[in-house]
């Protein structure tokens, strides 16, 4: 089943001579249970694509369908509600609220959705256990390591039971050991729970855990295929980090 679909999406910034085309007609489908890595050099448009997939930004043209709903046809607040119920976000810099405990951070999207009581607690507990952070639930982010903070961020994304998780450089701020642990965790979510994940990364090692890799260059999809195939090719092409 197609969870997310982009059809001929373009995105431009600025106007006149200063106009920059970040995406120049991107089309792709994300199926349920897929683990997709988006790779590309700096300025290629991969992060822009992720924000458009999440409805954070609107495309200049083209269509984005989340579970069949065209994001352009609903207003800003509806998009927000859709995000908090169906999309999980993971950021490179974790973006936990520093003044909330780990558990409070995880519960926050559900509480903002008006949910209260035992079910919320139950889901938060489950998510924390899933990322093996239940024992750190009462800690503030400042008392956690980078890897631990990212685990909490993943728990926050998972707690709502999202249709798809969008991860923007989830290992970008971590050392290699933590990076491996987070990559393994994401892979485990897909393989054991059937979670759909789209991840932007510049790290080929991290991308290896994905089953499908899309590479972008100059706002266009360059390669889209099985991770092993694409990575092999892109390694030859020298696609590295941004």
């Amino acid at each position: 089943m197609t969870i997310l679909e982009v059809c001929n999406v373009t995105k431009s910034y600025g106007s006149g001579d200063a106009r920059v085309a970040a995406l120049r007609g991107v089309s792709a489908k994300i199926e349920s249970g897929e683990f997709v890595a988006i790779m590309g050099p700096s300025g290629s448009g991969k992060s822009t694509l992720l924000t458009i997939l999440g409805g954070v930004e609107s495309p200049t043209s083209g269509q984005v369908l989340l579970e069949g709903v065209d994001l352009a046809t609903i207003d800003e607040d509806e998009r927000t509600k859709l995000r908090r119920r169906r999309l999980g976000f993971i950021f490179q810099s974790f973006n936990l609220l520093p003044n909330l405990t780990a558990e409070e951070n995880v519960r926050l999207p559900m509480e903002l959705d008006g949910r209260r009581g035992a079910p919320v607690k139950e889901k938060a507990d489950l998510a924390l256990e899933l990322v093996e952070m239940a024992h750190r639930r009462t800690h503030l982010p400042s008392a956690l390591s980078g890897g631990e903070q990212q685990r909490i961020a993943i728990a926050r994304a998972l707690a709502i039971g999202p249709a798809i998780v969008l991860a923007d450089e989830p290992t970008g701020n971590l050392d290699s050991r933590q990076s491996r642990r987070i990559s393994a965790l994401l892979e485990q979510l897909v393989s054991e729970r059937g979670q759909t994940i789209v991840m932007v990364t510049h790290d080929a090692t991290v991308a290896q855990v994905a089953r499908r890799v899309i590479t972008i260059r100059d706002g266009l999809i360059e390669h889209d295929g099985a991770a092993s195939d694409v990575l092999q090719r892109t390694e030859l092409l020298g696609v590295k980090e941004e």
């Binding site: 930004e57 927000t80 995000r83 973006n95 926050l108 509480e111």
Partner: protein, 835 residues
């Protein structure tokens, strides 16, 4: 690029913050300029009026009694060694009629041949009066009456109504100020009008060029008759200053609070600006800027904005001064010249504005200079002034008891007036410094309560506020001080109004008042009623009692006082608003030759029942027994009440300024009609009790309006501070808000979170502020003892407290509108990458 250019570009990129800081400074400076200009204008007006009377004189001889002294003294003075010139003056108050217009005027009887040698004025038109029926008018007075040379003017005084012809119009020279309501007659003519044949009130003396005034004074002292005083010309009137004192003290208090709030806002603004730019500052340090350069850059920014803000504040202040002058005119029942734009108020206000700004920016600038260059290389948490505030917290435990101690000493007259303001400011400041101690638990409790109505947003808001203790403390502090001072001063204004109302409802009793002119509240000066008025009024059927009143300026020790002479008929319990004594004993004491003393004068001389008070008379100093002390607002409370018999003997008082008339029951309308007919025929003023109450109420309302305006100013400053802080809050939370918007929050929820922040700030600052306001009102009422001579009765007004609280909450809510909208409309992708 120079650091100055860097600052300029920074300012351009944050116009909102710059505008808010600019407005804070402009309003603070404006308040200082307005009050200083207004007080300077009224004081200059008094000084110039007195200067116009004394002119170029080196010495003046003045009468100790209201009836003056014989003209013969002039010859004696002229013959004395070292005297170059001696100009006689009769100086009385009369009513002038021009067509339908009437005005109270200071009428001078002068010797036209020599007067210009002692008084500076230039002719605008015409010439000096030479004949009996000729008059000279002051230019501004002539303009206000629309009188020109050759126009007729009638003068109503003790000798009845007489008509004069204006032959000249003069303007004082050597000074920018108009004399005001002055008219000049030849001396014999004035003596006739005022029934003062052969008498004068003053002699202006110019000494020879080669002689010292002190030497001449010494020469003359031995030959002077009784009943006169030789002195250097006065440049100020004690009584006028006393009348203005309470109002000016209130204004000073308002300024002190406005400046305190302005310091908070400016400090907070710069503190946040530095926090927000920490990364940029780190880059500057990394690329070679020294600590000194960074510190100076921040201070220079403060200097620029304070200069621009101060200039705008000066303009604002001129407008405010005009308003305050109008209020003063109403209060003092005088015509003031236009606002005196002397440089001093501007210099003082600009200096205050710049000093406050630099003071506010100093600590942030020092912090900026200590930014580690390494901070430019990594993502950083915005730093706050939490440490500074936490370090200052113990000071709160010192300031509060110290403030209470100071207040106690001030209320008991051990400290000069003004110490009470310092004490109150100290206590409030101490309370602000203790905010961090209670912030977490109080905000937690409030947020829990609010969660039911505002959802999880209130909890998020609470967490945000407690995360930045320093910034939150300062914002709550601004609200706390604005609310406590506003509610406190508002309560005190109402207490004062009640006190004045109590006074006039007790001290001014009568069905009707007949007078020639309204008295000057500052000096009591009023035009005499024509002789025979009393006899004519006594014939009116239905008058139960008539109490003739006379207001006489006199000297008691070092103080100029107003002696109020009455017959004190009617219910003894209703004649005075007594501070000490009982009605019956007071009237009995008065009849036995004792005096009732105004509370301010009693406080000044530290006297009460059983003590004596000195009064200068023609026969030297007389010690009068004090029968009672009474609350009094006339002449600033520097009053002595005497019976007509006693005043006649001691001060040779004759004549009447006003009759207080009680009508027989059931004949009120008849008496009013008869009095109306008589007064119209004779050019007199008839006022009913209701009329008089309205006049006084109008004056009081004028004062209240000016104080409300100052309170509104305080609210405005607090609003600016709050908008500033909330906007800064949002800037600092940009990334967090961006994340919240991405993962879960609708725009409405973001708005609600910012409203929740504002509500929490408001509740934490405003509720204790309103409670502290009750204390401030009480503390000010205590310190009124040293200003007014009696404590202003303090009244707790729950309605006022709740009203102030409601206004405060509304202000807080409105202040959060723009920041909330700004937060709701953040560009999400940009916000996620905001640093």
């Amino acid at each position: 690029m120079s650091l100055a250019k860097f600052s300029l570009r920074e300012a351009r990129s944050r116009p909102g913050r710059i505008v808010l800081t600019f407005l804070s400074i402009a309003i603070g400076v404006g308040a200082v300029v307005a009050v200083l200009l207004a007080t300077t204008t009224s004081r200059t007006a008094q000084r110039e009026m007195l200067k116009a009377v004394s002119g170029k004189a080196d010495l003046e001889l003045v009468s100790d009694t209201p009836n003056g002294f014989p003209y013969d003294v002039v010859s004696m003075i002229r013959e004395a060694s070292g005297v170059k010139l001696a100009a006689p003056v009769l100086n009385r108050v009369a009513v002038l009629f021009v067509g339908e217009k009437r005005a109270r005027a200071q009428v001078f009887g002068i010797d036209p041949r020599i007067d210009q040698q002692v008084r500076d004025y230039e002719f605008v038109a015409g010439r000096m009066p030479e004949k009996y029926d000729e008059m000279l008018l002051d230019d501004s007075f002539a303009q206000s009456l629309q009188v020109q040379v050759d126009d007729p003017v009638k003068v109503l005084a003790r000798g009845g109504i007489q008509e004069f012809r204006v032959v000249g119009i003069v303007r004082p020279s050597g000074t920018a100020i108009a004399l005001g309501s002055a008219a000049y007659l030849v001396l014999p003519s004035a003596q006739s009008v005022f029934k003062a044949a052969g008498n004068i009130d003053q002699i202006q003396i110019v000494v020879s060029d080669d002689t010292e005034a002190s030497q001449v004074k010494q020469n003359l002292q031995s030959v002077l008759p009784e009943g006169v005083t030789l002195r250097a010309p006065r440049t100020s009137s004690d009584m006028t200053q006393e009348t203005m004192f309470a109002t000016e003290n209130g204004l000073r208090m308002a300024i002190a609070f406005a400046i305190l709030i302005a310091i908070f806002i400016i400090y907070n603004t710069f503190q946040m600006a530095v926090g927000e730019r920490r990364k940029q500052l780190g880059i500057l340090r990394a690329v070679g800027a020294t600590r000194g350069q960074v510190q100076w850059m921040i201070l220079r920014e403060a200097l620029w904005i304070s200069i621009v803000g101060s200039v705008a504040g000066c303009l604002l202040g001129v407008w405010g001064a005009n308003y305050l002058n109008q209020v003063t005119e109403l209060l003092m029942n005088v015509k003031l010249p236009g606002t005196q734009l002397t440089p001093l108020p501007f210099v003082v206000a600009v200096a205050v504005g710049i000093a406050v700004s630099l003071l506010g920016a100093l600590a942030p600038a020092r912090r900026a200079s200590r930014v580690d260059p390494l901070e430019a290389m990594r993502a950083i948490e915005v730093q706050h002034n939490d440490e500074v505030i936490r370090r200052a917290t113990p000071l709160g435990f010192v300031l509060i008891p110290a403030g209470f101690g100071l207040l106690w000493f001030s209320a008991h007259d051990y400290l000069p007036i003004g110490a009470d303001i310092v004490a109150i400011v100290g206590i409030l400041l101490g309370c602000v410094l203790l905010i961090p101690v209670l912030l977490s638990s109080v905000s937690q409790a409030l947020a829990t309560g609010m969660e039911r109505f505002m959802g999880v947003e209130s909890r998020l808001a609470q967490k945000q506020l407690t995360q930045h203790v320093g910034r939150t403390t300062l914002t709550v502090g601004v609200l706390f001080i604005a609310m406590s001072t506003s509610a406190g001063m508002a309560g005190n204004v109402l207490d004062n109004v009640r006190n004045v109302t109590d006074w006039y409802s007790r001290a001014i009793l009568g069905d009707f008042f007949v007078r020639a002119s309204m008295p000057d509240l500052a000096t009591g000066a009023s035009a005499d009623l024509p002789e025979g008025t009393g006899d004519a009024l006594a014939k009116i059927d239905g008058i139960q009692s008539m109490d003739p009143m006379r207001f006489v300026s006199a000297q008691s020790g070092e103080s100029s006082v107003l002696v109020v002479v009455r017959d004190f008929v009617g219910d003894p319990e209703k004649l005075f608003d007594l501070v000490e004594g009982t009605g019956a004993a007071t009237v009995a004491g008065l009849r036995a030759g004792k005096a009732v003393v105004g509370s301010v004068l009693a406080e000044r001389l530290n006297i009460g029942i059983g003590d004596t008070i000195p009064l200068e008379t023609a026969d030297g100093t007389v010690q009068l027994d004090v029968a009672a002390t009474a609350n009094d607002y006339m002449a600033g409370g520097l009053t002595i009440y005497l019976t007509r018999d006693v005043a006649g003997k001691l001060l040779n008082v004759s004549g009447v300024d006003a009759y207080v008339i009680q009508a027989e029951s059931g004949k009120l309308k008849h008496v009013e009609d008869e009095l109306q007919r008589y007064c119209q025929a004779n050019g007199l003023l008839l006022q009913s009790y209701a009329d008089l109450v309205k006049v006084i109420d109008d004056m009081i309302n004028g004062v209240i309006a000016s104080l409300w305006m100052l309170l509104a100013l305080g609210c405005l400053i607090a609003t600016l501070g709050l908008v500033n802080t909330l906007t800064m809050n949002i800037l600092e939370q940009t990334r967090e808000i961006g994340m919240l918007r991405v993962v879960a929050m609708t725009r409405g929820q973001v708005r609600r979170m910012i409203f929740a922040q504002a509500t929490l700030l408001g509740l934490i600052g405003l509720i204790p502020g309103a409670i502290a306001g009750v204390f401030v009102a009480y503390a000010i009422s205590l310190s009124a003892q040293s200003v007014l001579g009696h404590a202003i009765a303090f009244h707790f007004r729950p309605g006022l407290v709740l009203g102030c609280l409601a206004v405060g909450i509304v202000v807080v809510m409105l202040s959060s509108l723009i920041p909330a909208e700004r937060a709701a409309r953040l560009q999400l992708s940009a916000a996620l990458h905001y640093e």
